[in-house]
């Protein structure tokens, strides 16, 4: 029983992390209709920037620094590359971002080498929490809390601010937004930048759990996709729900059918998309 309880807690924590990784991907796809396959490499960039900065300035400043640096890269990527292919088939976005990701991954190889690196959690979150026989590392608790803050903050900002209202309108119908006199290109740049910064922050958080390698982001690209499709495009609540579903299944399924935990998310996605074509909480969106 303890085991099932710990697996559920673990699944929720994992789910929140997955949701946060997918959040940036979801926002960019929702507002700009671009399949950002560079999401994984931006995640890895965040982690590497943190690795460089953490010894110089400590956890919090390093995280902010990593997010800012990657955010600036995000602005450049959006202005130079992604901007050109708005309105084309989303697959062109895929090719251009994938090309960019390949190139940057190789740059990481050249600078940091292909060998793995590990990072210890910051001082304040080391050690583990025992509840009876249940074991939860403090760092995972901290990450779960931080992810909740990011997810909740984004959700509140989208629902309660005027900028959030424009973003939501952009997800629904981007032409109408620009017809109403809002600066659509600017909106897209801002959303892309926020998306990259969230990717970078999730990279920082994940680096202390899963270690670093230039190709570390690729493993989270498809899961992000699955989270977004299960939860539904254009819905933050959907992304959170999708993340939790994937986290809980991978955690609980490891008890029942451990051999197929990697396939299960795909099966769930297929079932969900078959019966709920827009995902569980999806709304009408610009990809239709």
């Amino acid at each position: 029983m303890f085991l099932v309880a710990s697996l559920i807690v673990n699944g929720i924590i994992l789910g929140l992390i997955y949701a946060t990784i997918a959040l940036g991907f979801s926002l960019v796809l929702g507002v700009s209709g671009v399949l950002n396959f560079a999401h994984g490499i931006l995640f890895a960039l965040g982690a590497y920037m943190y690795w460089v900065l953490k010894d110089l300035m400590g956890f919090w400043p390093a995280m902010v620094g990593a997010a800012l640096i990657v955010g600036v890269i995000g602005i450049i990527v959006e202005r130079v590359l992604v901007r050109r292919i708005y309105g084309e088939d989303p697959l062109f976005g895929l090719v251009i971002t994938m090309g960019f990701a390949m190139a940057v991954e190789q740059v990481l190889h050249m600078i940091f080498g292909a060998a793995a690196k590990t990072i210890n959690p910051p001082e304040f979150a080391q050690g583990v929490l025992f509840i009876g026989d249940m074991i939860i590392p403090y760092y995972r608790l901290f990450v779960a809390g931080f992810c909740t803050v990011i997810l909740g903050g984004t959700w509140l900002a989208l629902n309660n601010t005027s900028f959030g209202a424009i973003v939501r309108a952009g997800m629904y119908d981007s032409e109408m937004v620009s017809a109403l006199g809002h600066d659509l290109p600017m909106l897209r740049t801002i959303v892309f930048t926020i998306g990259t910064m969230i990717a970078a922050i999730s990279g920082v958080l994940a680096s202390s759990i899963w270690s670093l390698k230039p190709g570390m982001g690729a493993a989270f690209l498809m899961p992000s996709f699955l989270v977004v499709l299960i939860g539904g495009l254009g819905s933050i609540r959907g992304t959170i729900l999708g993340g939790l579903i994937i986290g809980l299944t991978t955690s609980l399924m490891s008890l029942v059918i451990p051999r197929f935990v990697d396939i299960m998310p795909y099966v769930i996605m297929a079932v969900v998309v078959y019966f709920w074509p827009r995902g569980l909480l999806g709304k009408q969106n610009i990809l239709e």
Partner: protein
Amino acid sequence: MKSRMIKFVTCICMVLLVGAFSAFAGEKPIKIGIVSPVSGNYGDHGKLERMGMTAALKQAGGKILGRPVVMVVADSETNPDIAARRARRLVEVDGCNFLMGSVSSSVASAISAVAAEKKVLYFATNGNSDSLNSDKASPYMFHVAPSMAMLVRGGGKYVANNLGKKWFYLTHDYSWGHSGTAWARKSAAEFGVEEIGEIKVPLGTRDFSSQLLQVRESGADVLVVTMAGFDNVALLKQLAEYQIYSKMKVWYTLMEFVDMWPLKPEQRQAYANVEVYWNENSKTRAFAEMLEKNNPDAPCPMPLDNGTYEGWLAMKILLAGIEKAGTADDVTAVIKAIEGLEIKDNMRKYPTKVRAWDHQVLTQIDLIKANPEATGPDMWEVIDEIDANKVARTREENPINVSISN
């Protein structure tokens, strides 16, 4: 019409580019084609084995039978289909009679298929799967890496007698992982060990929290792990995070130095089988220092890892074989010369032998214990040196014969 001309010209140009590229194949040195990962996640493992090959070639003066020897490197991208394409290029275009490299068993069996088709000699380094010299065995391939049978049986006795009799298996879910667990089970049965449970983990798993929670609850004495690559680096970190070491001993059926090195000292606590340890004796130490000096871009300090040693050994065996055969153009003669060859100056306690009937190279295996206090690269101590002759599969266990000398 104009557009058609453009299409036409584009096609022609593309095709001619290939022509220009092949123009580099000229001269007549002995060419050895190296197919190993340069880019991608396994680039560091590829780098290590290439360092070993280069070192062996350098020790031989870069020449054999008075002819210069050159290495032609092609990127395998750790993908069997791409590796096979590159291997074919090395044979067809560059005219290599000898191939080397791999890093994974799937890539090794892909290159081995090319070698058999083109009748060239291939040395499989760093792929430990048993199948490489049983059902995938080929007269044109030598398996330099120890098979899982040798690794697991070598360490199993010590682990059963000293660490505990209740074992839990954590395994990568594909052929290589399966064979690791299968041999661990066999030696477990031999030493009266009880199996508590098994979890098979899909390749590409980064988060092991749910599996480790189950392992903690199992009440086993020893966790037997067969896991590799980046997944393994993530697992090593999480073993410490979930405090597995305080509950049980951990025994890796195969460990790479470059995978464990990035961990913080207090996180390195496992027992493991390795093919070589740089600080095993004064010769390996001197060799590792030399490697470190000559390769400032090596992925770890003291870069004498399993892969480095295998690359070094493969090149040494090949050069010795060519010398013995007296020719580098007759592949069959070279294979005949290599079958049964013994390498004595291999820096180890036991000599290296090339077994003729299954083309397995038999080299000493070490059982190591990680030292949680060591801060430098001297992070392991060797607790047992195992003669591979005693633990390799016997003819009854592996009834094949790919030898061409008899």
